[in-house]
């Protein structure tokens, strides 16, 4: 199965910091047939973003960086501490680094956190247009491999 241009454009609109309206407009154009492709894009994107951000650190500084990153994502507003569950976020990141499991977490909560964590990691990476395209191009290839 292939990832479509429309699925990629939808994810790009979110990660490029486009307006919420534009992202929502594109997201609403996705149909049921896009579910698998978009979910694979999200999973591959988050996996790659986590590898880039945390994989190079040793165990001790990795733990510090993960705790600090999640706190930075949650301390920004009154609503963020409720929107992002720190335990779920930590489990998802550790799982992508080959530690622990996310088996006990509700599927919808996983997807919600994948979206928020990917957006936060990409925002912090401060990619320019070219870098974002390169990131998404790799993510697309990884997602398509996952879908095979």
């Amino acid at each position: 199965m292939q990832v479509t241009d429309r699925q990629l454009a939808t994810l790009r609109s979110q990660l490029a910091g486009r307006t919420a309206e534009e992202h929502l407009r594109l997201f609403n154009q996705l149909g049921e047939s896009d579910n698998a492709g978009y979910a694979a894009l999200l999973a591959a994107g988050l996996f790659e973003a986590i590898q880039r951000r945390f994989a190079k650190s040793n165990h001790a500084s990795q733990q510090t960086e993960i705790i600090d990153f999640i706190a930075a994502s949650r301390e920004r507003s009154e609503e963020a501490p409720d929107a992002i569950d720190p335990n779920i976020a930590e489990q998802i990141i550790l799982h992508a680094l080959g530690k622990g499991t996310i088996a006990g977490i509700d599927g919808k909560a996983v997807i919600r956190h994948q979206i928020m964590l990917l957006a936060a990691l990409t925002a912090q990476a401060r990619y320019n247009e070219e870098e974002l395209d390169a990131f998404l191009s790799q993510v697309r290839a990884d997602a398509e491999e996952m879908l095979e």
């Binding site: 001790a60 733990q63 510090t64 705790i67 600090d68 999640i70 706190a71 949650r74 301390e75 920004r76 507003s77 009154e78 963020a80 501490p81 409720d82 569950d85 720190p86 335990n87 930590e90």
Partner: protein, 162 residues
């Protein structure tokens, strides 16, 4: 039994002082006393809870944001290093929010007594270390904690009697 009927005595105050100066190991010698009966244990634990509340209220006064609470717990876990997993973030944030009368978290907070005790102890000792009390400062803190606990127990006892 009505736990709120316990009296805070000199032994409890001495135990709190030792705890604040030496950490949880100071209570190893109290193990027999803590296991004697519920009422005896409630005296020590109530004063510890009172000290926690006073410490947190001091730390987050006069103003704070919920973001400050998030950052505080993250820094606490980072400093705890390999013990970070003993401190559940949501449990710790929930305890602090309750202590400062902040709006409660809308998420489901794990109902885990051991996690709550761990968070309480780590937060209390972290704030005490951060405060860097001199002798007089520590005594003032203990006195404030004792007064707070006695008043808190009296209110709870009055409610239980209704």
């Amino acid at each position: 039994m009505d736990y709120s009927a316990v009296q805070i005595g000199e032994g409890n105050v001495l135990a709190l002082r030792a705890f604040l100066l030496e950490g949880p190991e100071a209570w190893v010698a109290l193990r027999d006393d803590l296991q004697k009966d519920d009422e005896t244990a409630a005296g020590y634990m109530s004063l510890l809870y009172g000290a926690f509340n006073v410490a947190v209220r001091r730390r987050f006064s006069p103003t704070y944001t919920v973001g400050d609470i998030v950052r505080f717990v993250a820094d606490l876990r980072i400093k705890a290093e390999e013990d970070a997993d003993l401190i559940d973030t949501l449990v710790a944030e929930d305890l602090i929010r309750r202590a400062v009368d902040a709006p409660p978290l809308k998420k489901e907070v794990p109902d885990d007594l051991t996690a709550a005790l761990h968070a309480e102890v780590y937060i209390l000792l972290y704030i005490v270390t951060e405060s860097d009390f001199d002798g007089a400062g520590l005594e003032q803190f203990i006195e404030e904690a004792t007064t707070y606990t006695k008043e808190w127990l009296a209110v709870r006892h009055a409610k239980a009697a209704q």
